[in-house]
Amino acid sequence: MPPEIHADQSQPPASLSRRSLLRGAAGVGAVSVAAAAGAGTIFAAAGSANAATDAHADAVTDTAAHPAGDEPLVVYLRDAATGEFEVFHGTRQVRVRDRKLAVQLLNQVR
């Protein structure tokens, strides 16, 4: 199921998918992923060796849509139950809904 990009966000990235999110998470030094699960619980997945490894493996299979620029890409899982992500890059923000990706990421940090 493709991720749902909310209509209220202008100029969504051309290729926002689970793959591109993970590819973003694989960037060294310039990428962080923050995840929230349940009220008041926040834990960061940045630096997770497993996540980075898997994401990198995904990234090398597709180089067509590499994240632009050297600015950080930050992904915030604001609702683990629904898989609602906020993705920040530069001065832009998009919302992505992908419950499967949320579960996958949470499994990486548990």
Binding site: G29, G47, P72, V74, F88
Partner: protein, 463 residues
């Protein structure tokens, strides 16, 4: 305080914490208005080696509404950039800083000014120097002239300054936050039965030796007004509404490789300020940070806190028998239309003879300035309630005694503006924290940027 550390979240982010906003017709430059937004509360002058600076990641803005809809028609944006000349020394400066391009100045800041008008952004200037902080006689000799060199003249008869200034807002914080025990009236306080004070005492200015960072811009009045008829006091088009905001990008992560915070995403407002003491005193703790994130046009949702201020109910309790008429007003749950007019809509024509700063029916916390009222040659620090229409709440000058004005207004002295049958308590016209501009050791400047030379780190506190 006016708006220093006024909300739980913003109190942890000083560089984005607005402290005071001023807007006034320039006394030495008729035909212009000066707007000053202060940030970074309670700076200790000796705060090295990383002396205070604006936040490079903060978007600072001063907004002007000129058509009474509480929407910004003109915005001045300020973005700062810090440069470190030599990362291998711990020193802010390696010798005396005698000019703004001194090679001895190691950590300096420049900024860009952008005007946003009708949705169009125009960079007015870039690479403008801030002055260094006032460190001491060896590091920053002749500080006053050094800082004055950082007053930049832009095209279009616009002046800007961004940098450290002496705190011009005077307030007895110690007494106000000790359960509103105003020293000049401490013997009348209920003292919770402890009978600690038997005599009145003079006020103590808690900000007397502290600095702040100011963003000041002086603009021709004609640049601020367009469209509606203006130029006469009675013209609604002569009135502007002003507020300042600070915004940060939404995502914030500590980068373990760069050893610094990185920011990403759209800017989100985290601080705002117009009328002094509003978020500080009127808005309850649980809503202060929410208030900071909102545009003035949404202030209707906070209107009940203006109409029924908590402090108005506390004064008769804390000072038994001193405010009997105010107590009756509070007991009757009378909505304070006077405070709503002063702070949320402006004062319409016909309330105060020869004066108005009304911006229409949109309830919005803005600092309203009728630009057709010239600067006063003999200003009264109590502004409008002192018979001086060039002062607060018609805009705000750097020396206005806004603490006393607002204490007296909340105590009921302005109720007769909307209810001629109400007689304010005698104490309402006397209540004060006991301070005046003479409580500010640095004094003020008679020319732009008007706030005094900041206190030096070497000299402050004095031995």
């Amino acid at each position: 305080m006016s708006s220093h550390r006024e909300a739980p979240e913003i109190s942890t982010d000083p560089v984005a914490d607005s402290t005071d906003l001023y807007a006034f017709v320039s006394p030495d430059c008729p035909g212009t208005v000066t707007l000053i937004a202060n940030y970074i509360p309670l700076e200790g002058p000796a705060g090295g080696p990383n002396f205070y600076a604006f936040g490079d990641e903060v978007l600072y803005e001063i907004h002007v509404d000129n058509d009474a809809d509480a929407e910004p028609d003109l915005t001045f944006q300020f973005r700062f950039k810090t440069e470190l000349a030599d990362p291998d020394t711990f020193l802010y400066n390696t010798g005396p800083i005698t000019s703004l391009n001194s090679p001895n100045w190691n950590r300096r800041q420049t900024y860009r000014v952008t005007q946003v008008k009708n949705g169009k952004s125009t960079v007015l200037a870039d690479g403008l120097s801030c002055p260094p902080c006032n460190i001491g006689p060896l590091s920053t000799p002749n500080y006053a002239s050094l800082a004055q060199a950082a007053v930049h003249q832009l095209s279009g008869n616009i002046k800007v300054f961004a940098g450290q200034r002496a705190e011009g807002f005077y307030v007895d914080l110690g007494s106000i936050f000790d359960l509103a025990n105003l020293r000049p009236f401490q013997n009348l306080h209920n003292q919770f039965g402890m009978n600690v004070f038997s005599h009145p005492a003079p006020g103590v200015n808690a900000t007397a030796q502290l600095n702040v960072h100011s963003i000041a811009i002086q603009v021709p009045i004609g640049d601020l007004l367009w469209g509606s008829p203006h130029g006469k006091v009675t013209d609604q088009g002569s009135v502007i509404g002003v507020w300042t905001t600070a915004s940060r990008q939404r995502a914030h992560v500590w980068d373990t490789h760069k050893h610094k915070n990185v920011w990403s995403g759209p800017f989100h407002q985290v601080s705002r300020l117009a009328n002094p003491l509003v978020n500080e005193v009127l808005i309850p703790l649980g809503q202060k940070d929410f208030w900071n994130t909102q545009p003035p046009r949404n202030d209707k949702v906070f209107a009940s806190h203006y109409a029924q201020p908590e402090l108005a109910g506390l004064l008769p309790v804390l000072y038994p028998g001193v405010f009997p008429n105010l107590a009756k007003l509070v007991a009757a749950k009378t909505a304070r239309a006077d405070l709503e007019a002063i702070l949320l809509t402006g004062i319409p024509t016909g309330v105060v003879p020869g004066f108005q700063n009304f911006t229409g029916g949109v309830q919005a916390d803005m600092l309203r300035l009728n630009t057709a009222i010239p600067a006063s040659h003999s200003p009264n620090i109590l502004g409008l309630i002192g018979g001086d229409p060039a002062g607060f709440p018609n805009g705000r000058r750097v020396f206005d005694d806004v603490v006393t004005v607002e204490l007296r207004a909340i105590a009921g002295v302005t109720v007769p503006l909307v209810d001629k049958t109400f007689t304010p308590d005698a104490a309402a016209g006397l209540i004060t924290d006991g301070l005046t501009p003479s409580s500010v050791p640095s004094g003020y400047l008679s020319t732009f940027p008007y706030l005094g030379v900041p206190y030096g780190g070497f000299e402050t506190p004095s031995s």
